[in-house]
């Protein structure tokens, strides 16, 4: 059973409805569009200390602090908070739930005003660009013209790059972490496995499960299990689980979760379905598949960042095989072709893609050093601390 009843209460406030429709990349005009967001810290008088933190496929606006649905810490609590790398005593941090998400923003599980029923598959296919356009409109309405920084890992990195590409004048610094300028064939392949698992679940009901009172938990859990493997690394899995057995001395000669790694993945799957919507998973993973900044610029990625004034810091994880370092390096080369201000570090970690969510001192020091440097150059020094404290 799902506890994902977020449409009718105020648990996910604040939310803001965009003025006027949002014209999507597909040409569809979507209205109304509501974006749920969270903020941390205080916007200074000059409105110059805002950092937009973009979430990954299954993340949300709860960057730090307790999550109202899961009760767990926000997904980037190691990084965002008072005195932390992204110091909320100094910066004003904004987290939004992406368009198409399931934590309060307009998405397939919200009510379609035309039918007064959940959108389901009537929700239009959205793209990373659409997500970013919605965020930009939200910031317009919040009166924030320019972001000191946009950052995020994984799909958050895709949004960060789209921000820097689409709105270079609105971004001082961009930090795409463990990301790419396009989804590779392997990325699309894994996403397709996830989508097929969801759609193969009879409880999915052609996407109408909310109306029919079912939940495709099995399919969504399998999607999560497959994806979760891609977020880790072979050495990390081996170290954490090896071939150790789960609560038993001997093999059972059956198909129970004999191995700890099986039990772990089942747990990952089953807790995920309590906090995520299956159709949202389809839509958001599709948005990632469609992302290709090079293709959008005539096949030349460098043209996506022509004469960019944005300061970039690219960070990759050495053991990440979902968004390997080579992808970040390709972006660095494209930025070099524009003689852009770019820093690039590959963080040594054997923990795989998800290392960006973990307590990784080298990664944190790099991010903090870059932000401090960028803050100095725009005159956003520690003096801002007094105003926002």
């Amino acid at each position: 059973m799902s506890v994902l009843d977020t449409s009718s209460d105020n648990a996910l406030a604040p939310r803001l409805t965009l003025e006027g429709p949002l014209v999507l990349q597909s040409g569809v005009s979507l209205s109304p569009v509501t974006i749920a967001y969270q903020t941390y810290g205080t916007l200074n008088a000059e409105k110059s200390n805002a950092i937009l933190v973009c979430h990954a496929l299954t993340g949300d606006q709860y960057v730090a602090g307790a999550h109202p649905v899961s009760g767990r810490d926000g997904w980037w609590h190691h990084v965002v908070g008072p005195g932390k790398v992204i110091d909320t005593d100094r910066y004003f941090v904004i987290g939004t739930n992406v368009l198409g998400g399931c934590m309060g923003s307009t998405g397939p599980k919200e009510i379609n005003p035309e039918t007064e029923r959940p959108y389901g598959l009537l929700f239009p296919v959205i793209t990373i660009r659409d997500m970013v356009q919605a965020q930009a409109r939200l910031l317009d309405q919040l009166g924030i013209e320019k972001l000191f920084c946009v950052t995020g890992g994984s799909m958050g990195a895709l949004q960060t790059l789209e921000w820097a590409h689409r709105f270079p004048e609105r971004v001082t610094a961009a930090v795409p972490i463990a990301g790419s300028y396009r989804h590779s064939a392997q990325n699309i392949a894994f996403d397709e496995v996830g989508r097929q698992a969801i759609m193969a679940d009879p409880e999915w009901r052609q996407g109408n499960y909310l109306e029919e009172g079912t939940v495709p938990t099995r399919g969504l859990a399998v999607a999560r299990m497959a994806a979760h493997i891609t977020y880790l690394s072979e050495p990390a899995l081996q170290r954490k689980f090896g071939r150790r057995l789960q609560d038993r001395e001997n093999l059972t000669y059956g198909f129970d979760a004999d191995f700890q790694v099986e039990s772990y993945l089942r747990h990952q799957g089953s807790t995920f379905v309590d906090r995520f919507d299956a159709n949202s998973y389809l839509y958001i993973s599709r948005a990632m598949d469609y992302f290709d900044l090079a293709e959008e610029n005539g096949g030349n990625l460098a043209d996506a960042f022509k004469d960019t004034p944005v300061r970039f810091c690219l960070i990759s994880i050495s053991s990440d095989w979902l968004f390997p370092t080579s992808e970040s390096r390709a972006i660095v080369h494209a930025l070099n072709a524009n003689a852009a201000k770019v820093s690039f570090v590959e963080v040594e970690s054997d923990k795989g893609h998800d290392a960006f969510l973990l307590d990784e001192p080298e990664f944190h020091d790099t991010l903090k050093g870059f932000l401090d440097g960028a803050a100095r150059t725009v005159g956003l020094d520690d003096g801002a601390q007094g105003e926002s404290a």
Partner: protein, 213 residues
């Protein structure tokens, strides 16, 4: 990109190493600089803080890149022979290659590459024509090991060592202009290359040239 030698003394705690200071002295304020093999970014930070230089750095060692980025510098991890080609022509006023030319696979192409990216190239290298090097080979019959070039032949990254004379002949072949040249003795004391003439090739442990295309 190799370690820059640490044998040269610094003036005091507050300043940078004398060889780096000499490089810094060649750079005009407010210029655009690419430091190839920038290490932990000491020179770039110095140029940023004292000359308001808009700097970029390229460095092979990830640990040093990390320290540089932590200093707020625009430094990327990469290999100069693979990565310089991605930069556009004339993107910089100065491209610095400090104590690294001798460790590249194709020094000639590297020099040409530097002068494609920048109006000026500031290049320093250890002088293999120094008398201690010559004498060591003559007397011991083995590859010379000196304070400036301490590694054994089998573990040195310096695969294309040259003398000042060799370098000048290459520069001549490339048809580029030498704007300034300095010879450094073992204490890091500089002399104008022109002032010391041919003796520089015998008595200098290091050399630094500012080239212009």
């Amino acid at each position: 990109m190799t370690d820059t030698p640490s044998q040269l003394p610094a003036h005091d705690e507050a300043s940078i190493r004398v060889d780096l200071q000499l490089v810094a002295d060649q750079i005009k304020a407010d210029s655009r600089v690419l430091d190839v093999g920038c290490g932990d970014g000491m020179l770039l930070a110095h140029l940023r803080d004292t000359k308001h230089v808009d700097g970029r750095g390229l460095e092979l060692s990830m640990a040093r890149v990390s320290s540089a980025v932590r200093e707020g510098l625009a430094v990327i991890q990469g290999d100069l022979e693979a990565d310089l080609k991605h930069y556009p022509a004339d993107a910089f006023d100065y491209v610095i290659l400090s104590q690294t030319l001798q460790a590249t696979h194709n020094p000639k192409e590297v020099l040409e590459g530097l002068l494609r990216l920048g109006t000026h190239a500031v290049v320093s290298f250890p002088n293999f024509g120094h008398w201690k090097v010559r004498l060591a080979l003559l007397l011991t019959g083995r590859m010379p090991s000196t304070p400036t070039l301490p590694e054994s032949w089998y573990d040195t990254e310096n695969i294309h060592l040259c003398t000042i004379k060799d370098f000048l002949s290459l520069v001549d072949e490339l048809g580029v202009t030498i704007e300034a040249g300095f010879a450094l003795d073992g204490n890091g004391q500089k002399r104008s290359y022109k002032a010391t003439g041919w003796l520089a090739n015998l008595f200098s442990e290091q050399a630094l040239f500012v080239l212009r295309h």
